[in-house]
Amino acid sequence: MTTLNELTLADARDGLKAKDFSATDLAKAHLAAMEKARGLNAYILETPERALAMAEVADTKIAAGAARPLEGIPLGIKDLFCTHGVATTAGSKILEGFQPHYESAVTHNLWRDGAVMLGKLNLDEFAMGSSNETSAYGDTISPWRRNGSDTKLVPGGSSGGSAAAVAAHLCLGATATDTGGSIRQPAAFTGTVGIKPTYGRCSRWGTVAYASSLDQAGPIARTVRDCAILLGSMAGQDARDTTCADLPVPDFEAAVSRGVKGLTIGIPKEYRVEGLSAEVQALWDRGAEMLKDAGATVREISLPHTPYALPAYYIVAPAEASSNLARYDGVRYGLRVPGKDIAGMYENTRAAGFGREVKRRIMIGTYVLSAGYYDAYYVRAQKIRTLIKRDFEEAYASGIDAILTPATPSAAFGLGEKGSGDPVEMYLQDVFTITVNMAGLPGLSVPAGLDAQGLPLGLQLIGRPFDEETLFAAAQVIETAAGRTKLPAAWWA
């Protein structure tokens, strides 16, 4: 029998409406599953009292026939979204004890629509990482294991807690953020669906900033439809974020069943990188076949500046991070470590509060923005960004509706396996996802099969600006053809 926490979000919504169970039952089923799964370390903070109080309100609304779009749906919140009165850490020691007195725009929209908060999810510190191993609150363990092995695997990152919690049935869906692949890579590693919408689709107000020109919020959920439902509530106009688009939010859920008949899907030849595994290549080919079988035309395209996206990102993102993270100075919030004078206090606070990867990126950013290097590094990287975006514009102008690529170079790896000596080894995780952030486009990762070791692999769909609808339609075709990924049994419980 399917327990309540194993339902899809859409089915739970229908069950609540039909009064098959109450929002309180649904919240309790999740809280019980979360308690048993503490070994996965997906949640930094559980908020059971709040969950039950919100569920009670939801039950009242449902009884009164006044249910809102997400009434009674229990969600996990990446701990990068500020939540009023609930500790928000960004996975960093420097925000220890920080309790926002305001609510992020995205979570506000979810509560407005009746969703229930289960707790705050683990992540790489300030969303800087691809494995959740840079969190100051410990590694998140993936619910997935290789066939016949009990090696602990990473859930990906930076939204590792979000992806692990969704895959382990510890919430019906989760909020996440994506600066270079932080929604799509963990979704691919855990057999879940994640979408990074177009830059400007969701307000960034109240979300802890990493690289403001690249950061974008989006959902991770177990099905394409569930993702569409969540994005419909998360997105929307907001005067407090000047980069938030003044566009109406389309009916994303309606787009899910649209199909791909008559669409032209591009296969970028530059993504066929050297050393791409035969397994990933085969998966990619199968994905193209699935879309073709459903009536789409598939055509090879060229995005010539693809190889430069990752190195350009590692100038732009650290530069923006060094500026954004200057606010953590021991004065207004979080940790303070005394020093011999005010500069000493800043330096000691930041030395004690930031982890290794964050310090590294702040220092790279400081260097590339410093006098004498600004033009050679930062301005050049921003010019290359213009070229990367132009590649996509030309492809779309030639009649391409969406682009299909692998989501990650491989399936999930083990804890501690990557990046300990050379940070660039970990950065390469994002080679297929990062161009999308550089160009501000929407990108979606959908599970498409398992590798030889039984681990999930994902495909990425990239769309035109503000055309998430086509991505949902195409992803549904792949989800239907590949079959929904069977999530692992609860070995941790």
Binding site: H101, D329, L335, R336, R350, K359, Y373, I384, T386, P465
Partner: protein, 95 residues
């Protein structure tokens, strides 16, 4: 381009991050690995290309110059490590 130990100390100071002597060498190695990785951008011809300033074409939103919010002094200092009468306290700056 690569950085030497003196540059690592200078960047750390600019970034206001205290770095101990035994952290300098590993940081230098890591920063140089990243700088070597981004070196390949030098191969791209960027003649006549405008640097990106906005990823989506949008006009900057403007609002009327009126007070829309205020009176949140308690909220603003709530999370500060040290405060007095709605002021943030820091170590003495002026002698």
């Amino acid at each position: 381009m690569s950085v030497d130990a003196t540059t690592v100390r200078r960047i750390a100071h600019l970034a206001r991050i205290a770095v101990s002597e035994d952290e300098v060498a590993p940081l230098q190695g890591e920063l140089n690995a990243i700088l070597a990785f981004v070196e390949q951008l030098g191969a791209v011809d960027v003649t006549g290309i405008e640097p990106m300033t906005s990823v989506t074409p949008m006009a900057m939103k403007k609002r009327t110059d009126t007070v829309t919010e205020g009176g949140h002094a308690d909220d603003i200092v709530f999370n500060a490590p040290e405060t007095e009468d709605h002021y943030f306290l820091v170590p003495k700056v002026v002698e």
